[in-house]
């Protein structure tokens, strides 16, 4: 599949093969250009019966159900589900804070693994894959395409992106909501270290455009435990001013601020119907993705 590059460090063939058994499905009807595995908002010609509808002039006479006509003397058209393909838009936060990691893996590396695996799985089932790397603007943008060659570009983009600068994810999400014309599955991979109010606005915008939004919220265990002992000079990875503090003095307040922020995020994702996954960097990304895929498969019938 990758003739010019034998391996990608963030892809594991074993994980890919195990996760291939579970399809990547959208929670909402997608509008695709070709036939695929995802439900479409339109009626189509698949084998799966959808409903009966009264005949109206102009309908194709071939779709009349003559048996019903014989029983009821009324004209009904038999409709079937339409299956289409999916556009997967990966939005990867590449701001400076994504470079943090205390467990031997940075948040950026973790994001690469999640995004690369999802891109591969989507491409494998014939869906279009695109990527947007976001820092203080759109660092790299590849629109969704279906061909395997495009997958290579996407993986290249993931490999090349480096965590740098501040994050302007909400603004970029607003921009994506406007630029992705048809319904798509938008997967956001970020630490979400930003104002919850702004996030709420951008998520709402995406939902307004009927996109299926999923979010992998990456947090490092040390960001949660904050178990520093010595006085520490904290250097802002996004270029802000450094801060000197005795962790013993501020640990409690830090935990309170973190808890309040997480509660706010949770409120937003509940309100906006976001498929939110809070992920600790010491978790196995395979399990995280399996949970993500299985959760979506169980919501297959919703249209």
């Amino acid at each position: 599949m990758f003739p010019d590059r034998a391996t990608r460090t963030f892809l594991d063939s074993g994980v890919l093969s195990r996760l291939a058994a579970v399809p990547l499905l959208a929670r909402r009807p997608m509008v695709g250009g070709v036939s695929g595995r995802h439900t479409s908002p339109h009626r189509g010609s698949s084998v799966e019966f959808a409903e009966y509808r009264k005949y109206v002039p102009g309908d194709d006479l071939r779709r009349l159900d003559w048996r019903v006509y014989g029983r009821t003397d009324r004209n009904y058209v038999k409709e079937y589900e339409a299956d289409t393909n999916l556009r997967l838009c990966l939005v990867v936060d590449s701001s400076g804070s994504m470079g943090y990691g205390s467990t031997g893996i940075t948040r950026m590396e973790y994001a690469r693994r999640l995004a690369g695996t999802l891109a591969f799985l989507a491409c494998r089932q014939g869906d279009a894959v695109g990527i947007s790397c976001v820092a203080d603007g759109v660092v790299r943008h590849l629109p969704p395409r279906r061909n395997p060659a495009h997958l290579r570009l996407v993986l290249d983009a993931l490999e090349e992106v480096r965590p740098r600068g501040a994050s302007r994810l909400p603004e970029v999400l607003h921009e994506l909501a406007e630029t992705v014309r048809q319904r798509a599955l938008i997967v956001i991979i970020s630490d979400l270290f930003m104002d919850p109010g702004e996030l709420a606005g951008s998520f709402g915008h995406l939902r307004f455009r009927h996109h299926d939004v999923a979010c992998f919220h990456l947090l490092d265990p040390q960001e949660i435990s904050f178990d520093f002992r010595r006085p520490t000079r904290f250097i802002d990875m996004e270029g802000g001013s450094a801060l000197f503090a005795d962790p013993i003095d501020i640990a409690t307040r830090y935990q309170q601020a973190l808890a309040a922020w997480l509660a706010a995020i949770r409120g937003i994702v509940l309100e906006q119907g976001i498929d939110h996954h809070q992920v600790s960097l010491d978790e196995d990304y395979e399990k995280v993705l399996a949970r993500f895929l299985v959760g979506r498969a169980s919501g297959r019938r919703r249209r």
Binding site: Y100, F193, E223, I224, R233, L243, D246, I248, A263, G295
Partner: protein, 693 residues
């Protein structure tokens, strides 16, 4: 506050150690790249005030812990500032008031003031590590080197005595000691109950004492342990007079017993036990007010049964014996007993040496008539020329109206006075330049009209008022002629223009008085208004009689002249040294005979020694008067109570140790990070890991 190991206080700057460690720790910070800055900023803004306060509190309790540790190791002393006001603790002088009032406790049988004082001072000196302790007790007033502070509790010189204390004299002894050996100076501990009688505020020695202490090369601190708490229900008993008289075919002992209490607590019946020759009888005395006297309490006695008491040579009239009265135990055991002796009164023998016949006759009359019909008197009249041959062995009084004695006669008179005899000199017709006892006669001076005494001592001395309080009619005496007196003496009566009429010369023993006129009608009307002259002569005879009486009552401490060893001194010229032995009373060191209550005997003569009467009534000096006595000196006064369990100076490191533990506990509590569970943020989010929402 004083410390037993003050050099450890040099480590006190270590209280800055926590601050220094904190500052060093601040410099040893680590730098980390951090993503979740927004929470840090929020936490920093929220925790700024509390964090700063907690930080300071932690530093404070750490500094307190270090300070408490240093102070505890330094072994602090309570009331230690006593010893911290200069000087060292190498030596201390303890002035111990052993007077009977110091035997008072809070309750009957409780620890006395004296015992408490000894215990507290010994404990304090031991705690302070004093190596040399010198005791000056109120009996001997001599310094006694003690091996260790603990010896203060064991030496007999610390036991109670019946004699009053003389604080000025004790302080003078201390000053002498310090002057001779400045190394012993530094701290004077005075243990006393502040009785006015012991402190003698009016004593002329006080300014000299102050000046001496102030002039010491090293600062001397005076610490007074004052035990002033009174015992309202304390009773004191004493015998004011004891004698016996024939009654019918037998004899009767007549006692005057006086009871006294500190305060009027209502009517009280006091059983007074009288021990006499092994027989005990009890008489109840009604006590209303503060004083009661049982006068002439008669006890029938058989002198024959008492003969063994003190050898009577077979004649009941010559028996001398002793007895004791006592009352039930109360707060002060020292005044619950009184000893008495009795015997037939000796003849009141007077020698008159007079050159003027009229004067001689008058003196013969007033000396030859005894004040009681049961008493007998004898008068020997000699001319000045025959004075060298008179026998003075059993004479009580010498009346001398002639040129003052010189040579052998003067020597014999000195010996007579030294054994307690009395002498009254009247001016000769023609004064000479000779002097006796530091006094010489001046010139005669006539007054017309006659003059009357302007002032006289009615409180004590030969012209004192009677026991009933009536004063002698000294003011009625008319003096027409007076002879001048050249020399120093205490004036008992003066005429206008400060002319001395009666002068008393101070002696260690015996009494010498000079009357500046004669009873001759040409000189005064002393013969016409004979009461004054009669009282004068009879009182002098009474005073002189004590020295020759076979049985007498004496005040403790007043028996022996100053400066002589009490044990080696005799009470009369006829007894050999060390001849006196104690035959009754609590055991006491022979070196302090005469200072403890009891009965002394020598060659058939008895002396009952009791505490002075003023000891029962001496008021307590106010604190400000005491402070005035030590004005300008390092003086500290500590009010103590008999039987008080607390020590005067004690180590107080335990509170500091407790403070150290509390400070460490507080530091531990404040240093707790108050961390919330690591999982709390997830729990708060309610999602858990990877929950699909």
């Amino acid at each position: 506050m004083t410390f037993l190991q003050p050099w450890i206080l040099l480590a006190l700057p270590m209280i800055a150690l926590p601050v220094i460690i904190h500052l060093v720790n601040q410099r040893r910070f680590q730098s980390v790249d951090w993503a979740a800055m927004r929470f840090l900023l929020a936490a920093k803004a929220l925790a700024r005030g509390y964090s700063r306060l907690r930080q300071w509190l932690i530093l404070l309790v750490r500094a307190l812990a270090v300070a408490a540790a240093v102070l505890a190791i330094s072994r602090p002393l309570s009331r230690g500032w006593l010893a911290s006001m200069g000087g060292d603790q190498a030596a201390a002088i303890v002035l111990l008031d052993r007077s009977p009032s110091m035997s008072q406790g809070v309750v009957a049988g409780g620890e006395s003031k004296l015992a408490t004082a000894r215990r507290q001072v010994a404990g304090a000196l031991e705690t302070l590590g004093t190596r040399r302790v010198i005791l000056i007790d109120s009996v001997s007033c001599r310094p006694l080197d003690l091996a260790a502070p603990r010896a203060l509790l064991e030496v007999p010189e610390g036991e109670p005595a019946a004699a009053p204390a003389d604080l000025p004299r004790m302080l003078l002894a201390a000053c002498e000691l310090i002057r001779a050996d400045p190394a012993v100076g530094g701290t004077l501990w005075i243990c006393s109950d502040q009785r006015a009688d012991d402190w003698k505020v009016g004593d002329g020695a006080w300014p000299a004492i102050r000046e001496a202490i102030r002039a010491m090369p090293r600062a001397v601190r005076v610490n007074l342990l004052a035990f002033t708490d009174p015992a309202a229900d304390n009773l004191a008993v004493r015998v004011t007079r004891a004698g016996y008289e024939p009654r019918g075919k037998g004899w009767e002992l007549l006692l005057d017993i006086a009871l006294r209490r500190q305060a009027d607590t209502g009517p009280q019946r006091v059983p007074v036990a009288i021990d006499l020759g092994g027989a005990r009888s009890t008489v109840d005395v009604e006590l209303t007010g503060t004083e009661a006297v049982l006068a002439r309490h008669a006890i029938p006695i058989d002198p024959a049964t008492l003969a063994s008491t003190a050898g009577a040579d077979g004649d009941p009239a010559l028996v001398t014996a002793w007895g004791r009265v006592s009352i039930p135990a109360d707060a002060n055991p020292a005044d619950n007993e009184a000893y008495f002796t009795f015997g037939k009164a000796p003849k009141r023998r007077t020698v008159i040496v007079a050159e003027n016949p009229s004067t001689r006759r008058t003196l013969e009359l007033i000396a030859g008539i005894p004040p009681d019909k049961l008493l007998s008197a004898a008068v020997d009249v000699v001319t000045p020329e025959g004075a060298a041959a008179i026998a003075l062995d059993d004479v009580s009084l010498v009346l001398w109206q002639a040129p003052l004695p010189v040579g052998d006669v003067a020597t014999r008179l000195d010996a007579f006075l030294d054994r307690g005899g009395q002498a009254i000199f009247l001016p000769p017709d023609v004064p000479t330049e000779d002097s006796y006892a530091g006094i010489a006669w001046g010139a005669w001076r006539e007054f017309s009209p006659p003059r009357r005494p302007a002032s006289w001592r009615a409180d004590e001395g030969l012209l004192a008022a009677t026991l009933a309080g009536t004063s002698l009619p000294v003011g009625d005496v008319e003096v027409r002629r007076v002879c001048g007196l050249i020399g120093e003496g205490t004036s008992l009566a003066t005429l206008p223009e400060d002319l001395p009429l009666l002068l008393r010369v101070s002696r260690d023993r015996g009494g010498v008085s000079f009357l500046a006129t004669t009873p001759s009608p040409r000189d005064s009307d002393l013969a016409v208004n004979g009461v004054v002259l009669y009282a004068l002569a009879q009182r002098a005879i009474d005073d002189g009689l004590a020295a020759v009486s076979p049985a007498r009552l004496a005040d403790a401490g007043a028996l022996f002249p100053e400066g002589l060893s009490p044990g080696g001194t005799d009470l009369s010229s006829t007894a050999a040294p060390n001849d006196w032995r104690q035959i009754a009373g609590p055991p006491s060191p022979s070196s302090e005979a005469g200072f403890h209550a009891g009965v002394l005997e020598s060659r058939g003569r008895l002396v009952a020694v009791n505490r002075p009467a003023r000891e029962d009534a001496a008021p307590v000096l106010p604190d400000d008067e005491i402070a005035n006595l030590f004005q300008g000196l390092f003086f500290n006064r500590f009010e103590q109570q008999a039987g008080g369990l607390g020590n005067l100076v004690e180590e107080v490191w335990r509170p500091f140790l407790v403070a150290l533990v509390l400070a460490l506990a507080a530091e531990g509590l404040l240093s707790l990070p108050f961390k919330v569970s690591n999982r709390m943020p997830f729990a708060a989010a309610g999602a858990g890991r990877g929950v699909v929402t």
